[in-house]
């Protein structure tokens, strides 16, 4: 049933957000700490468990797959509701931050590739 997949996804998200809230209280941050990340880990673990212990039916997987496929459209809607006016008043910063992150990350690829090829696990 499709609803099983959606329910599993909901369960993971609610648990993740709940644990994230608890973590926030624990650390003393008035915030949710990593709730979405925890939910993702939980879903990965649960869906990997299911390969050996029990199998998710195809409709169940479709229930999760649908929301995964809705990711880009939802991000588009998210972009359309942002306070862009406020962002533009200091526009260069966003662009410089983005460009700098890409340049530094690109530069890092050959460095990490070399570390990897030094491994005996090199493919």
């Amino acid at each position: 049933m499709v609803i099983y997949g959606v329910a599993l996804l909901s369960f993971c998200m609610l648990v993740g957000v709940f644990v994230g809230d608890l973590l926030g209280d624990l650390i003393g941050v008035q915030a949710n700490v990593g709730g979405v990340g925890i939910a993702m880990l939980l879903l990965i673990i649960l869906s990997n468990l299911s390969h050996s212990k029990f199998t998710l039916g195809v409709p169940t997987e479709k229930g999760i797959g649908f929301w995964s496929a809705m990711y880009i459209p939802i991000v588009v809607a998210m972009a359309a509701k942002q306070n862009v006016i406020a962002a533009i008043s200091s526009g260069w910063m966003a662009i410089i931050a983005g460009v700098a992150a890409v340049v530094v990350s690109f530069a890092m690829i050959p460095v990490l590739s070399r570390i990897g090829s030094g491994d005996q696990h090199d493919s």
């Binding site: 306070n83 910063m93 992150a101 590739s113």
Partner: protein, 254 residues
């Protein structure tokens, strides 16, 4: 009369109207991508850029802070693009990620994700400080935005950042995503991005899913699954680290 009842229908069924509206927007974007950029600029990047433009138009028209969602006809966009649906869809994308496949990617693949998140966060945070931000919440949100346009708003929302700062973090992440898409085929020969091993590391370091998918597709379509594999974990790791460890680090330093 007809227009009035049409707008009444759209307002009454706001979320459904948003689905239809975003669908049209995405379709137009993919058409633009295919026809005018021959697929070089990914349709999703164009759609997000159009979304930001519409948010600007909405903000100009209403003077509100919710972009297009402040126009009553498009109120559903606010719900569809709100934190609840956004986080739900993000969690769902983790389903595609296989623990086994990542284990096969080896330590370097996992390492590249963590290094990628920290590297982009630090660079973004430094730029934020250089532009005069002094509070840990704003600096962390912008740093997180330099990771991806998802990690930025997730971090910003979690830390209670100003909506304007969250928009900046999305803009930083979008700049990154677009640049990765456009730049990858050009830099690929210089950074040795021509084998699965390098693609795994590339996905982990860049992290922006649409950027990586678009960038690798334009470089060598065979490399897409390897880059996408590590990139899938990036947003999760970013959402885990940015509002927690990295934020605490920034707060300790500021």
């Amino acid at each position: 009369m007809i227009l009035e009842s049409l707008s009444a229908v759209l307002e009454k069924n706001a979320l459904i109207a948003a689905f239809a509206f975003v669908g049209i927007l995405v379709w137009i974007s993919y058409e633009i991508s295919a026809r005018f950029t021959r697929g070089h600029l990914h349709g999703s990047a164009i759609a997000i850029m159009l979304g930001l433009v519409l948010a600007y138009v909405g903000g100009r028209a209403t003077g509100g802070t919710q972009g297009l969602a402040d126009i009553s006809l498009f109120a559903g966009v606010g719900l569809m693009g709100g934190a609840m649906f956004r986080d739900f869809a993000i969690v769902a994308t983790a389903f595609g990620a296989e623990l086994e496949a990542l284990k096969k990617a080896g330590l370097v693949g996992a390492l590249s994700v963590v290094i990628g998140v920290v590297l982009s966060f630090v660079v973004g945070a430094i730029v934020a400080v250089a532009f005069g931000y002094t509070d840990a919440v704003s600096i962390s949100t912008i740093g997180a935005g330099a990771a991806t346009y998802i990690v930025g708003p997730v971090t910003g929302t979690a830390l209670g950042a100003d909506s304007g700062v969250i928009a900046l973090s999305v803009a930083a992440g979008l700049t990154k995503s677009v640049l990765v898409m456009i730049g990858t085929p050009f830099v690929a020969p210089y950074i040795g991005l021509n084998n699965p091993h390098a693609a795994l590391i590339y996905g982990g370091l860049m992290g922006t899913t649409s950027g990586v998918a678009g960038g690798l597709a334009a470089t060598d379509p065979k490399l897409v699954p390897y880059g996408a594999m590590t990139a899938t974990f990036y947003t999760g790791v970013g959402c885990l680290l940015a509002p927690s460890v990295l934020f605490l680090l920034v707060r300790a330093l500021v």
